[in-house]
Amino acid sequence: MDAAALKLRRSRRDMLVQALLVVFVVLVIWVAISTAHTNLTELNMTSGFGFLERATGWSYSFSLIDRSIDDSYSRTLLIGFLNTLFLGLICIVLSTILGFAIGTARDARQLGLNALATVYIQLFRNLPLILQLVFWYAVLIHMPGPRQAFTMGEVAFLSNRGLMLPGFNVSPTVVLAMFAVIALLAVVIFRQKSLQPVQKLLLWLVSGSGAMLLLAWIFAPADSSIFSIPAQQGLRFRGGIGVPIELVAMILAITLYGSAYIAEVVRGGLNEVPSGLTEAGKALGLSSRAIWFHVKMPMALRTIMPPLGNQWIFIMKATTLGVAIGFSDLFYIVSTSITQSGQTLELMGLLMLSFLLINYSLAQLVNFMNARLALKGH
């Protein structure tokens, strides 16, 4: 057989393999659809998204916006989506800050600091997240009641009802406006080329808290103070912001676990920085803090960013464990909706779509940051 005939035979075989794969996939999908159809008719279920407008008639533990048991499925799902985003973002921010601190400590010359960070990482990284979660939840619900609540300077309280924190005495709309202003300030300040990173951060913190105070001062009710501080009243608290116990447990568990992983990512990044650069910084007479900010971290960030992005996505996905302790994240809302309405396929589809959307956006954000960090011309 000559070369051309061989080539023809191979390309025919390739086409056949691919065609078979397509046929197989189509067959699987067709079987799935037809089986689902017969199963659903047997169960007398309607398909489609019409149920989204029906009222749910059940309640759950936590919501950022107003809710009632007359809410439609679509609003309840939106609340779950917002809860997942909210929890995920808090955990991402907290565990990134803690992770950078512990990763730096793990890289430190100071032996004690180093040992402490190592113990922390080995402890939290080598236990399943869900075990840590149910542990913290158990510890929190065994806390003393509101009468014997732990207090920090009489402004914040921790009891088996949850965490009470001081807050601004304003409506949720104003809080939203505050976040918008802070975000806007961040965009404006971090675009300034003439400032050092530390100066930018400092300027942002100062101007941000200033703006928040100003807004609170303008919009707080005239007859009360601009802060709302929780105070004990019999068996409950008045004023302040109440963080339910499920949310506290989620934040605690995910942050401790996530930060141990991020710390290892940070240490890896710091390790990659050539020691000659640090020595050059020392030779220039820079303090160790200046070396960290101006030499080590900018270099290390390039290595840190991609795995850090993976950790962020992991944290977002980890919020689904909330269902184990009854925190109303998206997964919890979807699984409850499935048991209540029976619209399994539609709800699973929405759940998957939401996570694809969240993770895709996070990945794009990380890519963008990565591109900004990349050395020009490399």
Binding site: Q18, N126, L127, T320, L345
Partner: protein
């Protein structure tokens, strides 16, 4: 290379240690202050822990009434309930089978860490034998013992079963997906990439939930199987999609010349792959594979959410009675210690392999 005489002798260890301390802990007054503070804190925490866990603890199951007044841990709950935690609802008088089955899995994991087992055929044989021994022992019908069905398997035994089934099933599937993703056929490549990226962007819980709840709606009854097997297949798919990326990294580390050399020797593509490329891919992928195995062991804990009676669920049951309710910390500490020992040893082994390979590369 340093001469033997230049290397620090055994007796110099103390001097080296003292030097390290001097350099890294007591270089300046403020440094010394920090060190004393941190070491003091760590000693204090260690002492509190030892006092709670050992010195002031109550150990015997009969001493329950002492627990309330003891200043330390009440290990009585473990003494009384350890069988429930380890084996779940498995029939009490058959626990020796569960014990042997768990030992078979642990032995399989330990043996696969030994270099002499590092060939595909040996590893496959080892895992099939270990896993088979587990199933035969737990099920019992082949060894002439009373049959125990899967719905009675529980505790640590169930966790180990899920873990080994997922790894055993997921490893070849992962290799297959990695090969498909590298295929030159666009449809095969596209389908594999789509599946891998899709599964990887979803939380594991979603995949497991879909396997447990959605699949029965989509497949005809005769294809459905037990819930436990559906969940294991779902979990194995998750494992395979991550492991495929690990293998892909391994493939990328192989120079193209290796494939061409195989061709030049007259080997078929399959022979080139199995005799030349794959051994190197496995070697490259080894540390990350260990990583994946560790992650899988850790993640099996979430099957509690979809209703399996694994070691975490049986721990919850262990302090679920009025008598034992106050001692939840002891139970979680016990289960945590089991997980921690497993995961820590495996991940330390992964670190050791990584270091060994870094040396080999230099």
């Amino acid at each position: 290379m340093a001469l033997a005489s230049e290397l620090p002798a055994q007796s110099d260890r103390w001097t080296t240690f003292a030097n390290t301390l001097k350099k890294r802990a007591f270089r300046s007054p403020s440094d010394s202050f920090t060190s004393v503070f941190i070491f003091g804190l760590m000693l204090y925490m260690a002492w509190t822990l030892i006092d709670w866990a050992i010195l002031s603890a109550v150990w015997r199951a009969e001493d329950v009434e002492h627990c309330a007044n003891a200043g330390g841990a009440c290990w009585s709950v473990i003494a009384a309930r350890h069988r429930l935690i380890l084996f779940g609802l498995y029939p009490f008088e058959e626990h020796w089978r569960s014990t042997l089955a768990c030992l078979a899995i642990v032995a399989t994991v330990v043996l696969s860490c030994l270099p002499r087992f590092w060939s595909t055929s040996r590893l496959v044989t080892l895992w099939i034998v270990g896993f088979g021994a587990y199933v035969v022992l737990m099920d019992g019908r082949l060894i002439g013992q009373p049959i125990v069905t899967t719905d009675q398997w529980g505790g640590l035994a169930l966790t180990l079963f899920m873990f080994s089934a997922v790894v055993l099933l997921g490893m070849p599937l992962g290799l297959l997906l990695a090969l498909a993703r590298r295929s030159k056929l666009p449809v095969v490549r596209g389908a594999a990439s789509l599946l891998i990226d899709f599964i990887r962007s979803l939380p594991l819980l979603t995949t497991l939930f879909a396997a447990a709840v959605v699949i029965p709606l989509l497949l005809p009854d005769w294809l459905n199987g037990d819930k436990i097997w559906r969940v294991i297949v779902g979990f194995a798919l998750f494992f395979a999609c991550y492991q495929a990326e690990v293998f892909r990294g391994g493939f990328q580390a192989i120079p193209k010349g290796q494939f061409e050399a195989g061709k030049a020797l007259g080997l078929t593509p399959f022979q080139t792959l199995s005799r030349i490329v794959m051994p190197q891919v496995f070697r490259h992928a080894l540390p990350s594979t260990i990583n994946m195995v560790v992650v899988t062991f850790k993640e099996t804990a979430i099957v509690i959410i979809i209703g399996f009676f694994d070691v975490l669920a049986s721990a919850n049951a262990a302090f679920g009675t009025v008598e034992w309710a106050p001692y939840y910390i002891e139970v979680y500490a016990f289960v945590g210690a089991i997980y921690w020992i497993f995961i820590f040893s495996l991940s330390q082994y992964g670190e050791y392999l990584k270091a060994r390979m870094a040396v080999a590369k230099r």
